[in-house]
């Protein structure tokens, strides 16, 4: 069983970082964004409210993936920039 220990260690750092960021992100959504009442109109306002919150969640998700992208490129492809130009 020839594990690539270096790769596993680097991926462990990446996963733990992303896990922590994810919990913080969901925490922001649960504690700050969720209770917000952007539009309290009971008809269409409800959907506007949901759409704005979904957009905030989307921005957080993209930031989260961006950090993931940077980590993988720094840890694995730093010396091989020619094969891993940024997205």
């Amino acid at each position: 069983m020839g594990l690539n220990h270096r790769a596993v260690a680097l991926q462990l750092i990446i996963f733990v970082t992303q896990w922590g960021l994810m919990i913080i992100g969901f925490g922001i959504l649960a504690a700050v964004v969720g209770p917000l009442r952007i539009q309290s109109d009971p008809s269409l306002g409800r959907y506007f409210d949901a759409a704005v919150k979904a957009m905030i969640a989307l921005v957080l998700s993209i930031s989260w993936l961006f950090i993931w992208d940077r980590q993988v490129r720094v840890y694995f492809y730093r010396k091989r920039e020619d094969i891993a130009e940024p997205v």
């Binding site: 594990l3 462990l12 209770p35 949901a50």
Partner: protein
């Protein structure tokens, strides 16, 4: 001395109710109430686990059956990561959805679990399997799989609207920070979730046994998490079923493979994971457990910038060396898949890469388990 006296006081005590707890039964049998031997709930959970274990031999036999039938019908795939390029029977992963649907039906028939939940699960898995089977036979363009698997999530949404609070709960449980209610966004995101989980599982099966082994590790961790935190019999049953049916298939799919899953197996297993995340309220833990899949899919899509099939790629992420080892591609246009990332600067045998991927799944599964414990 005190402990010994306490144990003796429990030994041989006959269960006191018609529906004794597992604690009482095990205390009666082994003369101990040591919690280390205990499952968190009683008969229903025990029955669910015992029935789910049957899915292992069922999946094993069905995989063998599909191997023979598909070989006779000329349904083969080429194992491109071997020098000899062997022809391996394809679409044998159909054994997993068939096992899952069969066992779910039996579980409902014997009166266990929530029949609406089982129906939703079976419809999702079955429809994803049909999409996969059609793709296996017709070789659809890459965009159709994500689009069609969006439809596979609709049974959960429809049954959830017909039977509120019996199928899904739109309150998302978040570790440490509590929960938040998503009455509009949650049902809308269900088809997306099923599409993402099924396609991301489909994408991380480039080497022998990676999909079946990875899904086994994920479902084992989530099963343990469910047993520790909230052992609802239906959720326990479905996770255990997924674990044992994946293991049954893994027996033939492990390195060196004698059976390939095909899209029918990959999409249905991914859809099963997505459906279970929703039905058993393990959404966030499931995302964490699927970190290797997420990384693989994200880097593939960010590089290629479109939904496409591996077979349609002009620049492959890995290359096979003359000594049988795999190496990272030097082509700048090749996608940065997980396998390629693990091979950067260090060519390796296929079996070594598979072991490394399983180690990554173990890491993400451990984090998923911690997440479930934090949610409580």
């Amino acid at each position: 001395m005190v402990e010994r006296r306490h144990r003796n006081s429990q030994r041989g005590r006959f269960p006191t109710t018609d529906n004794p707890s597992l604690r009482e039964i095990i205390s009666f049998i082994i003369g101990s109430d040591d919690s280390a031997f205990m499952l968190p709930s009683g008969w229903e959970v025990t029955t669910a686990v015992l029935l789910a274990i049957i899915s292992f031999p069922v999946s094993l036999v069905l995989t063998r059956f599909f191997m023979q039938v598909n070989a006779r019908r000329g349904i083969f795939g080429i194992d491109v990561h071997k020098l000899s390029k062997p022809r391996i029977p394809e679409m044998c992963g159909a054994a997993i959805p068939v096992t899952l649907i069969l066992l779910s039906s039996i579980y409902v028939l014997i009166g266990g679990g929530n029949s609406i939940m089982m129906l939703a699960f079976s419809l999702v898995v079955g429809s994803a399997a049909v999409v996969g089977a059609v793709d296996d036979r017709l070789k659809m363009r890459g965009i159709y799989k994500p689009l069609l698997t969006l439809l596979c999530g609709l049974p959960i949404v429809a049954l959830g609207l017909l039977f509120p609070n019996q199928v899904y709960n739109p309150t998302l449980q978040v570790p440490i920070f509590g929960s938040f209610h998503l009455p509009v966004i949650y049902p809308l995101s269900i088809p997306v979730a099923i599409s993402v989980t099924s396609n991301t599982t489909n994408m991380l099966d480039p080497l022998n046994g990676t999909m079946a082994g990875g899904v086994s590790i994920i479902s084992a961790a989530l099963l343990i998490g469910v047993l520790i935190t909230a052992p609802a019999p239906s959720a326990v049953f479905l996770y255990a079923c997924l674990l044992f049916s994946a293991l049954g298939f893994f027996y033939f799919n492990r390195y060196p493979s004698r059976a390939f899953a095909g899209n029918v197996g990959q999409l249905s297993v991914g859809a099963a994971l997505g459906a279970l995340a929703i039905l058993s309220r393990t959404e966030i833990a499931s995302i964490v457990a699927m970190f290797p899949n997420i990384q693989n899919s994200f880097f593939f899509l960010s590089k290629i910038k479109r939904f496409t099939e591996h077979r349609a790629l002009t620049a492959k992420p890995t290359k096979l060396l003359d000594d049988g080892r795999l190496a990272s591609s030097s082509d700048p246009k090749a996608p940065l898949t997980l396998v390629r990332t693990l091979l950067v600067g260090r060519p390796a045998k296929e079996s070594e890469i598979v072991s490394t991927i399983f180690a990554l799944f173990l890491v993400s599964a451990a984090l998923a388990l911690i997440t479930m414990i934090l949610i409580g």
